[in-house]
Symmetry: C2
Subunit: 348 residues, 2 copies
Amino acid sequence: MADKDIVISIDAMGGDKSPKIVIEGMALAAKSNPKVKFLVFGDSAKVAPLLQKFPELDKVCELRHAPEMVHNEDKPSSVIRNRNTSMFMAIDAVRRGEAQAVVSAGNTGALMAISKLTLRTINKIHRPAIVSIMPHLYGRYVMMDLGANTECDSVNLCEFAFMGEILARRALGIERPRVALLNIGSEEMKGKEEIKQAAQMIKNSHVDMNFIGYVEPHDIQNGVADVVVADGFTGNIALKSIEGTAKQLVKMFKDAVKNSFLAKIGLLFMLPALFKIKKIMDPRLYNGAMFIGLNGLSVKSHGGADAFSFSKSIENAVHLVEQDFIPTIRQEVDKVDFDELQAVMYDY
Amino acid sequence: MADKDIVISIDAMGGDKSPKIVIEGMALAAKSNPKVKFLVFGDSAKVAPLLQKFPELDKVCELRHAPEMVHNEDKPSSVIRNRNTSMFMAIDAVRRGEAQAVVSAGNTGALMAISKLTLRTINKIHRPAIVSIMPHLYGRYVMMDLGANTECDSVNLCEFAFMGEILARRALGIERPRVALLNIGSEEMKGKEEIKQAAQMIKNSHVDMNFIGYVEPHDIQNGVADVVVADGFTGNIALKSIEGTAKQLVKMFKDAVKNSFLAKIGLLFMLPALFKIKKIMDPRLYNGAMFIGLNGLSVKSHGGADAFSFSKSIENAVHLVEQDFIPTIRQEVDKVDFDELQAVMYDY
């Protein structure tokens, strides 16, 4: 493989419909990203015939046999001890420098555990976070943590804010992203202690960041912040509430149309307008949660992703590699004076 | 006022457009609830002329002058010391037994503080909770706590579950409501310590409840639970995420129609079907958060409510009075063996 190519490592066995949709997703991503090459890890007896169906993709792939795979019910504590799974081997290729990022649709807990063990957290960062890019009414925003850290202290929240800010610059191309802590009120006295403390720490630190204070969940959609920071429990609750409500409304709309002849006619007239909404809101566009805070990029596709959706995970990874995300975050975090933050914490 | 009448105490000065929409809301509620009488507290110079506009309503109202009112920016610590506000007087009428419930669109923190001080928590209950009734795809569910208690321990969560179960029976008429704790996974090991502990406590207690374990936010909409229990921070985050997403989708739909001539034609055909959705999802239908766990019923209307929306808050209150909610919850909670719960907690 040439020196300047982007190489993405793929766990071909992760997800509900693997390896089929994984390979189909790669084929889609390869078409729109001609500079990308793939290192593919999986059961070669199953993966090789699928690759042969896509000769153009096959040319940019190197398939390596993985004798085992991680299952959905596997515990993180056990998967980290098995170096023969497609997931472990795919992540390890990033550690060895053979690939710049790994994409898997497998078990989230396992992917995080192996990524942490193998890639290690960046110097000064205590915990990696799971991040997604999501749509608001006027663009996109970065949302984190989505579940890696159920309980967080104020230092963790600050670290997430710093990392999320860098991600928003690199992934969304926003020069000075507005960073906010997710809270249940906008007044300073509202919310949990660790959130209030984190706000103080960021304000008092010398980190040059456009910190705008608190954001409430119903204001996110109005595009008031580019980076929304929460602990993993709260972020996961918000994310799943948003997803659930969107699905509920779409289902109600579909059912209403299905049960009305008039509405079916109306739908025909409305299709172009609805298509525009779909082009913004389609959850498949936002597939690919990024694990950040590690010395390498791990991207987690939804387990039930289809080929289009999986291709978006790959494109997320490719884009961040092109943007030098990992070298940037390592350099910038290195400059942050974390002792200063701690001092604020003990003063509080 | 006759003995068997339902008397609702009204804070006429609470909310953004008071007293105008309060009186208009009362007029709407009075029409559909002929058995209801009102005790109205407010600035009589402002309220009396409004009441005269609705002679039918005026007949069932007793107006009492309140020289002062609670403002949005007032702190709970200060409002509890002023007995001359319309809010304080309205709540106090419930304590004195002159009314069976109070409805206010004023400052939530103030309403909770005065309600707690005046009505007191039910014997054995540590903290009251804020509860709303919300729509899922196949009906309605009870969601709590929505923000009264930012931090909760496992005992608080258990108490919320017991109270929510009683409310679901009385308010929704469900014989054996399915009660769930809001969490980020359905497996037993997922989530925060206090949630896992509360689940154990409920399971090991002798309280006869249809406890179904954990529910994730995106499953709420599928109607898997009738009572969803969370601490006030988590519940508030979920509620506002749901509201924000629904508003975002509605706005996108409206904008899409506004910008397309074809879509406008389509909308005409679709109106009856969309009207059906509105009849289920209209947030005004769900106005009126109930404070439960007190020796009297306080209902909080949204501060920006319109008259229709405010009338729904009144109807929530009336319905719970008709269903003997307060005597029921006091009796049933009295039977719960809370020492048993505590024992489980210390065993954990």
